[in-house]
Structure formats: structure tokens, C-alpha cells
């Protein structure tokens, strides 16, 4: 059984509890510092499934709108965010694009699409 202690700052409310959680296998066996139960739920998510929505831009061929803002349609594992940025940098689009359109499908086989967040016409 793997034993590990991690520090997590809860973002569920403005208190921002600094927590220490003990990890045993795929469970949190003990927690310290959280002032309510929501902290535990957050810490579990943060320890085992830490992911973030990635937002950035993609180059366009439209001189009036040189960048298209994009986002991931699901969370990306935190450790792969920079890899995704490197991949997105290789892409560019034409001079028009509707909003909510897939720009990069299944980026780095993570099961996540990169979609446009505005229209360019």
C-alpha cells in the first residue's frame, strides 16, 4: 500500500483551508486543516483527478482578428497542460470560424477537444 502525504488548498470557499491529506492507495485516509466536509471532497478530486480547463488562443489567417480564443471542452490533467500548449501552437485556422466549433479533435489522445469560444467572420 502506497502512503503519501499531500498539501492541498481548498478553493470551495474564501477560507482557503490549508489541508494535509494522507493518501492510502486510492483513498484519503486522514485529513488535517479542513474546517468542513467540502474540503475532503475537494481534496479527493484534487489528489486523484487534478484537471483544469485549458484556455488559450490559436493563430488565424484573418488580419483583423489574428487570434481565436479557444478552450478545452473537458478538464485536462494538470501535468499535460504544457504538452497541450505545445500541440496547440502547431495549429492555425483560416479566416472564419463559428463559435463552439472543434478546432483540435482529441488532443494528444486525451479524449478532450479544443473548441473555439468566439465566432470570427
Amino acid at each position: 500500500m502506497v502512503l503519501d502525504i499531500k498539501e492541498v488548498i481548498c478553493i470551495m470557499c474564501p477560507l482557503g483551508c490549508k489541508m494535509k491529506v494522507k493518501i492510502e492507495g486510492n483513498k484519503i485516509s486522514q485529513s488535517q486543516g479542513n474546517k468542513c466536509e467540502r474540503g475532503l471532497i475537494y481534496a479527493y478530486q484534487e489528489v486523484f483527478f487534478a484537471g483544469r480547463i485549458l484556455t488559450t488562443t490559436v493563430k488565424t489567417a484573418n488580419p483583423k482578428v489574428p487570434l481565436l480564443p479557444v478552450r478545452s471542452d473537458k478538464e485536462i490533467p494538470k501535468k499535460r497542460l504544457i504538452d497541450c500548449m505545445m500541440e496547440i501552437a502547431k495549429h492555425s485556422i483560416g479566416d472564419t470560424m463559428p463559435a463552439g466549433q472543434i478546432v483540435i479533435r482529441d488532443i494528444l489522445h486525451l479524449g478532450v477537444n479544443i473548441i473555439s469560444t468566439r465566432a470570427i467572420s
Binding site: I9, P14, L15, R52, L54, T55, L67, P69, L81, A119
Partner: protein, 414 residues
């Protein structure tokens, strides 16, 4: 000069202005015009490409452009005129507005009501008085955000950010993701200026150093920024001697707070509040001039765009009621007074007979706080400086307050 007679003119087509125009139109105003300086509506939202918008208002996690688009769509589906590339140059006490654009030239608008929704500006280097040379490479965080997200330029490669407000922290992450070396976020207070979520997701996620209780004391470089000198500060924010050290960098971003943009309000003679830097308003968001309302960041710097939208809607609804002659006013107003640990509050006066929503911001975060509103006490697990607090006063308790003529708001540790 062309003169246009309208029911309502909204100055500014950002989050507050769009919400105000939509609500006023829904409340029955037929002839509404929005005057917007930029070439597209949406204001600051267009450059805020990150997510976190709309969680309260739409119950969805949207990016800035997505949030703006929802309102742009509604605005354009309604009978509201949107004048883009239009600069308002004057606002007079009789509510008349002078503006200029390339379609109509200089023109006058004669409205029955005005809503101020001009938003805010960032504090710049002179306003926080950092000594040193004046090289290239010093930007406000919001300008850098525009350069990176809209225009496609990086402001530098080695970055120091002064101020840990939300824009500063969001730019730290953004520049890190774009390959810059963000060397430090320097904050004079003993806690971050912005939301806890941004501290974790923008700084901790990428191991960006946060230097609390530090100040930038000098900027080096002749043509281009070469570095900054930083120093620790004590509790009174005085620089601690012999604590100075230098950080080399080619760019300094300043995220030192926002100031409501009230040049037009001043010209019209609208009374401004020292605490908010925005107009003094009553609970209808009406300024010291009858029929001129204010909403959003021109009134006070808000925490979340969701609140800016709600504020805009409130001004829009009340402007419509004003035009219809429905705003009931008491001859005796109640002054709302800021007491202990209150940074700002609106409205500053209560004139009517309806339920009131007070919007309060504290100076310092307090864990285990008690908020005192007149003779009522309310307990909170925590109250922070980075989020506004909304408190209601029931219409039924207004009569007692009106006899006193004032209600004082304070916040203490229990």
C-alpha cells in the same frame, strides 16, 4: 448637429451596459441606444479568454468571450440601437450627451434617462510611485492581457508582476503557458489581492513564486527594463532596510487595482464617493442627478462579472421605472455610513420604501466575522476583501432607520 431624442442612453457596451440596456428594454422602454467606444460590444470580456465567468448567473463555467456572446445575442435580437466606434465626449447636468462617430459625425442625444456604464481603468506606475528609470517593458496587467490574447504579442520573456489582484495572477498563468519565465508575483499585503481560486490555479499550479509583504522599490534599465529591486515591508507597509534584493527581468506588469472611470460623471457635476471612487447612488442606482443612473465597475470595482450583470439589470429596470414616473421617493433620506473595516459600500443613501440590497466590501479579511448593519448583527465564517458581500434591509425596518437618518455598517472579528 444631429439631435436624437431617446428614452434611454447607455454609455458603454460592456457587461454592465449590455445588461442595463436589455433589462430597460424588457421593462418597456421603446427607444434605447447604447454608445460604445470600441468596434465590438463586450468590453473587457473579450480579452478575458479564461474561464470562471457565469458560474453564479448562468450556473455554467464560461470564458469571457462566451459570456459576452450570450448578451450580444440577446441585445441584437431586441429593438436596441448599438452605436459602435462611438466616443461620448460630453455629459451635461440636463442629461444631454454629446458623442462622435464616423457615421453621424458629432451628434447630441437627448434622453429621458442615462445609465453610466463606462467601467474602470487600471492604476499605472505613476499612481503607485515606483522610483527608477523609465524604460520600455512596463505594462499594466490588463494591457498585457490585451496584447497577448487579442493582438498576439508577448510583453516580454522574463516577467515580474507587481500586485496579486485577479488580473495579475491570471496573467502570471497566461504568460507561463505561453513560455515566459514568470519570476515572481510581488504583493505588498500579507495575503493575495484576488480570489483563492486564482491563487491556487494560477500560481500554485505552475510553481510561480508569490512574494507576500514585498514591494518593488526601483526599476532598472535605460531602453528596456533590466530588472527590479524588491524589498520586504513591515505591517505598516514601510520598507525594511537591508531586505532589498534584485530580480533581473525584461518586463514588469502592474496589477495594483482599478479605478472607476468617471471623467464624464465629473463633467456633469455628479457627486462622487471617496471610498468607491464612483458616483454616490441611492438604492435605485440613481446618482446625484435625477435620471442619471450608474452600474458595474464605473460605480465600484466588482469581484465577479456575474455581479456586474446583476447591477446593470438593476439600473436598467430602475431607469425604466424612472421614465414611467414610478420611483417613489421619501423627503427624508437615510445615509449609509461606512464604519470599522469597511472599504466601500453602495448605495450611500436610501431614499425609497422598498427592500434594499447593500453591497459591501471589507478592508481586511476576517475569519469568524460579525457584520453589523444598524442594530442587526450577522455572523459569517469568513469575510474577505476579494469578494463583495450583499446584505438585505427589509422595507419594514426602513421607518425606524429613517427616524435616525442614518445606518452604520461595520465588520468585526467575533
Amino acid at each position: 448637429m444631429i439631435a436624437k431624442e431617446v428614452d434611454l442612453v447607455v454609455i458603454g457596451g460592456g457587461a454592465a451596459g449590455m445588461a442595463a440596456a436589455i433589462k430597460a428594454s424588457e421593462s418597456g422602454l421603446k427607444n434605447v441606444i447604447v454608445l460604445e467606444r470600441a468596434e465590438a460590444p463586450g468590453g473587457l470580456l473579450q480579452q478575458c479568454i479564461h474561464n470562471g465567468f457565469g458560474i453564479h448567473y448562468f450556473n455554467e463555467d464560461l470564458t469571457g468571450p462566451e459570456y459576452a456572446e450570450r448578451f450580444i445575442e440577446r441585445l441584437s435580437s431586441m429593438n436596441i440601437r448599438l452605436a459602435l466606434n462611438t466616443m461620448v465626449t460630453h455629459l451635461y447636468p440636463d442629461r444631454s450627451v454629446i458623442a462622435i462617430n464616423s457615421d453621424w459625425g458629432e451628434f447630441r442625444v437627448l434622453p429621458r434617462a442615462v445609465i453610466l456604464a463606462m467601467g474602470c481603468r487600471e492604476k499605472t506606475r505613476p499612481q503607485i510611485a515606483i522610483p527608477g528609470t523609465r524604460p520600455a517593458g512596463i505594462f499594466t496587467a490588463g494591457l498585457a492581457q490585451r496584447l497577448v490574447n487579442i493582438d498576439g504579442y508577448l510583453p516580454g520573456k522574463e516577467i515580474v508582476i507587481l500586485g496579486s489582484g485577479d488580473v495579475g495572477m491570471i496573467m502570471a498563468r497566461r504568460l507561463h503557458l505561453e513560455g515566459c519565465n514568470v519570476k515572481a508575483v510581488v504583493e505588498v499585503m500579507s495575503y493575495t489581492g484576488g480570489l483563492i481560486r486564482n491563487k491556487v490555479q494560477c500560481l500554485h499550479d505552475f510553481n510561480i513564486p508569490l512574494l507576500l509583504e514585498h514591494a518593488v522599490t526601483e526599476i532598472y534599465g535605460n531602453h528596456r527594463v533590466r530588472g527590479v529591486k524588491i524589498a520586504r515591508v513591515d505591517k505598516a507597509q514601510n520598507i525594511i532596510i537591508n531586505s532589498e534584493c534584485s530580480i533581473s527581468c525584461d518586463c514588469l506588469l502592474i496589477s495594483a487595482g482599478l479605478i472607476p472611470e468617471n471623467e464624464l460623471s465629473k463633467e456633469a457635476g455628479i457627486q462622487l464617493d471617496e471610498l468607491t471612487d464612483g458616483p454616490v447612488v441611492d438604492e435605485f442606482l440613481q446618482t446625484s442627478i435625477d435620471g442619471i443612473f450608474a452600474a458595474g465597475n464605473v460605480l465600484q470595482t466588482w469581484d465577479l462579472v456575474d455581479n456586474v450583470t446583476l447591477d446593470g439589470e438593476k439600473a436598467g429596470k430602475n431607469a425604466a421605472r424612472y421614465v414611467d414616473g414610478e420611483l417613489m421617493k421619501s423627503p427624508n433620506e437615510i445615509k449609509v455610513i461606512a464604519g470599522e473595516n469597511i472599504k466601500s459600500l453602495t448605495p450611500q443613501k436610501i431614499i425609497g420604501f422598498e427592500d434594499i440590497e447593500l453591497v459591501i466590501r471589507v478592508q481586511q479579511p476576517i475569519e469568524g466575522a460579525e457584520l453589523i448593519v444598524g442594530n442587526k448583527r450577522k455572523r459569517y465564517k469568513v469575510i474577505t476583501h476579494s469578494e463583495v458581500i450583499k446584505v438585505n434591509i427589509k422595507a419594514s425596518s426602513l421607518e425606524t432607520l429613517r427616524k435616525k437618518g442614518r445606518v452604520k455598517i461595520s465588520c468585526f472579528k467575533r
